[in-house]
Symmetry: C2
Subunit: 380 residues, 2 copies
């Protein structure tokens, strides 16, 4: 293998795939980036057991030469050093040449680097996915759906299925649900696909979705998504992102969301966020994060929290709307803040069915998001 390539383009592709290289590989090859060079271009691949990312650099783009290939070939280079050094090479042109035993020479300006390469035959083979059926989502919408649901996924590895986000597709409607048994987040959106295409119980690790999100540009361009037996493939421009589907059956959450309420509030999102943020600071001192919401007269809402050692915070807010019974309820302020930070609506609806029943939070502008928080049982 022998080629010269633009440092900028090589670096960009390395940054895209590097996240999938294992930082503590069980065998050295899993801590590597595979480089495949053909006369069409350069393909970089990294893969740990959970995700694989591949990025393709064409030899030419918009009539600009990006890479000049003298001799096709393959090699695997240790990711950690390779990722760091390419960023810092002195010239915009990088020459890479692979010799006997995958010994690799990298030249740029007056810098000469010899790297111990590994045999590409030992590199994991990417899952082969039949691409008959797929659906498409605008990149910015997919990112919003991820951001608005991952917060409720469990971080406890003891119930692995709850560390994921449940995806389902029916009647062109894509739905994400996440829950850690204390709270739930769900989001629906229209997908671009055939009416009859549907799936269920596709669960993808929340942390994988966060990584995926970073690779998706903040634009309206479409991302292709292919769901296979135990893998999902995302195509984002020249980048392919593979993730495995989590094993197990996701619990049925459809019955825990109340639809009738005894108390209904509409509040200004920013005012509520600021008030709970201040109450959170006090609740944090007690390490419980407990904040109380109490309805007062004349549509006034009181938010309060206290700590024996530090003191007490009391906030008053005017409700935009207040229907139903008076209420006094306690909940985890951190959970409420997580929801308020990702809701994209100037006002929010909160529905209660009693001090011991799930609290439902929704934007008032649209009905794509639903959040549920279980209240705390407290003695006073």
């Amino acid at each position: 293998m022998k080629l010269s390539i633009s440092k900028h383009e090589l670096n960009e592709a390395i940054q895209q795939v590097a996240k999938a290289a294992s930082s503590r590989p069980t065998i050295p090859i899993l801590g590597g980036i595979k480089i495949e060079v053909t006369h069409q271009g350069v393909t970089l691949t990294a893969s740990d057991t959970d995700i694989s990312i591949q990025s393709f650099i064409p030899v030419e783009r918009d009539n600009l030469v990006i890479a000049h290939v003298d001799k096709p070939g393959n090699v695997v280079l240790p990711a950690k050093f390779f990722v760091e050094i390419v960023k810092k090479l002195p010239s915009d042109n990088v020459e890479i040449e692979v010799g006997a035993h995958f010994q690799t020479l990298i030249r740029s300006g007056s810098t000469d680097i010899q790297m111990v390469g590994l045999d590409p035959e030992e590199f994991p083979v990417l899952p082969s996915i039949e691409q008959n059926e797929l659906f498409q989502m605008p990149g910015d919408l997919l990112k919003a759906m991820i951001r608005q649901t991952v917060l409720a996924a469990s971080v406890n590895e003891q119930t692995p299925i709850l560390t994921g986000v449940l995806w389902s597709l029916q009647d062109k409607q894509l739905k994400f649900v996440a829950t850690d048994r204390h709270r739930l987040a769900s989001r629906v959106a229209q997908a671009e696909t055939a009416m009859e295409y549907r799936f269920n119980n596709v669960v993808i690790a929340a942390k994988t979705l966060v990584e995926l999100s970073k690779l998706v540009p903040d634009q309206h361009g479409l991302v292709d998504i292919v769901v296979a037996d135990n893998q999902v493939l995302f195509k984002i421009g020249n980048v392919l992102f593979y993730t495995r589907i989590l094993d197990g059956t996701y619990p049925d959450t459809s019955k825990i969301i109340p639809s009738m309420f005894k108390t209904e509030l509409v509040l200004d999102t920013k005012n509520l966020t600021d008030a709970i943020d201040r109450a959170y600071l006090m609740s944090r001192e007690e390490k419980t994060n407990i904040v109380r919401l109490t309805t007062l007269d004349n549509g006034v809402i009181e938010i309060s929290s206290s700590s024996t050692e530090v003191g007490r915070v009391t906030e008053q807010l005017d409700a935009k709307q207040f229907d139903g019974e008076p209420l006094r309820i306690a909940f985890n302020s951190k959970y409420m803040l997580d929801v308020l930070k990702v809701i994209d609506s100037e006002q929010i609806f909160i529905g209660f069915t009693g001090a011991m029943s799930p609290i439902v939070i929704r934007p008032t502008d649209h009905s794509y998001n639903t959040y549920v928080i279980l209240p705390y049982r407290t003695t006073n």
Copy 2:
């Protein structure tokens, strides 16, 4: 005590003093901020065993009312919560009122906070320092002196005196020296003071100087410095910063800096920094950080490092000047990078007296800085 005060001014003063409040106080009072209110203004003080910081907010500045004092008085409030909450108060006006048992009420907009206050009589008394003799340094110069020396202070608490920077003043010349026995940094500058004012063996903890540095504006305005028996006081505008002087005698370092060299190099600072930075990436793989410098023919310098598992980096640089004997020497690349990052000169001088002798690094533009790095003894 009862007053109303601008949130912005209160917050700024809190941020200045908060660093001195102990984050893990042995007794609660040391984790507090003392607030003293008189008809002249509000004084905030925080103090752990090493440093004390005091900031004064006048009731009026430039004919603008900052605080309105109804009733003078003192209280100590727990720093951690107080620091966070003031930032987040809803209105620019904050009312503070202290009642029985130091119970403190803070009001801003529709937010009410009750805080458990502590008895100000229990708060540590600041050292009383006679201010007969002092010297002055421009703020930006003081910051530069700190930045250019703290890097060589020891981080090993087993030899406490070496975790400090040695200050001495003689003939209006202020000198800073730091060393961890593997490297040394020194910096001199002119101080504004009486010719006969002098001191020696004043050692201040490097981490304290870094904190001080953050409080000094990046401007030419003068900082007053008073050296007392076991304390140093810095006056930066309305802020007073007290630090204790480290106990013990600083080792004599005057004899370890060679003044005659067998090999002398002048190199471009940026080119050398970049080359060593790349070699450092490889040396880091071996956890030794060893980099070699070898003189080649025609004034060319080779920088190289290697790792059995990853490979080898070789860099070539043209020396701007090269006098004396050929040389092959190994040193800690991290130490060299620390020096190169703070040297403010386009070209640098490096002097060698042999492969086992201290390496001396100096800017070429001026002679205020001297750096010394001990080489590694290596077998090949």
